[in-house]
Amino acid sequence: MRALLPLGIFLLIGLAFAVGLTKDPKLLPSELLNRPVPDFALTELYDETDILTQDMFDGKVSLINVFGSWCVACNVEHPVLMDIAKRNEVNLIGIDWRDERPKAKDWLAKRGNPYRKVIFDNESVLAIKLGVSGAPESFIIDKAGQVRYKHVGVITPKIWRNTLRPIIKTLEAD
């Protein structure tokens, strides 16, 4: 019986590791879930006189996508966003994060601009308020302007079909 004690301890530690190590520490939950988009006032990427605020999300379901011309993974995600924009399925808003206007405009000119509006956030003002830790990162906002879902990383066609699109559809039906 005594001999089984180390084995028992080993199994216990093994179990703890099995659970702990399979969790991706990079996937941080959004603290903002079911809370309104934080207040902000930032300019539009193309039109510096256009001051965008949290009111821009009122009345429609939006998908906010954090990107930057420096972001490598955003290149992978971009065609998926173009596809979403083409089908006009959601109010797609970009946050151009830690970027320079000319570079961002150039990046979008080359690949196409899927966004209806692009919030220019070169000092991480809105990014920190949203708890963004990297790009790309996306948020689904409901009609009342509340954050309902956070996706960290590239939106693949599969993630769009199986996760994001269904959420947007149900929110739209509300």
Binding site: L28, E31, E123, S124, I128, K129, G134
Partner: protein, 130 residues
């Protein structure tokens, strides 16, 4: 000659100290507190560095925000709470003592206690045996 050299060196030292003292602007207190707060916040990009140590662009912006909030009159705890509200417990380098971290905080003490009990028990037994 030697005296002149020593004199010059000491003059230089006094001057540099004086310069260092004038560099202590009223912001020095804010700076020190910002460093303090920065050391307790995790850089969410690099994950195992504090924002004070990290050169990641996001950490730079977070440091700036910490400074701004301190200047606006927030206490250190309020700034940390502000970040926690946005990034969750994860942003704190020192995990808070709460129900899901009891195991983390108290296991060492439990092990110590268990070891102590075991030690007392076995030493009693050894005494009885001898």
């Amino acid at each position: 000659m030697r005296q002149i050299t020593i004199g010059l060196i000491s003059l230089f030292m006094v001057l540099s100290f004086a310069l260092a003292a004038t560099a202590q602007t009223p912001n020095a207190e804010i700076e020190a507190r910002a460093k303090d707060v920065g050391r307790s916040l995790r850089c969410v990009v690099c994950q195992n560095q504090s924002i004070d140590e990290s050169d990641a662009p996001l950490a730079i912006d977070m440091r700036k925000l910490v400074r701004e909030r301190l200047k606006e009159g927030d206490s250190n705890a309020e700034v940390i709470a502000y970040m926690q509200e946005r990034y969750g417990d994860f942003v704190l380098l020192k995990p808070p003592v709460q129900s899901n971290t009891y195991l983390l905080w108290f296991t060492p003490f439990l092990l110590l206690l268990a070891g102590l009990i075991w030690f007392i028990k076995t030493s009693h037994k050894a005494e009885a045996d001898s």
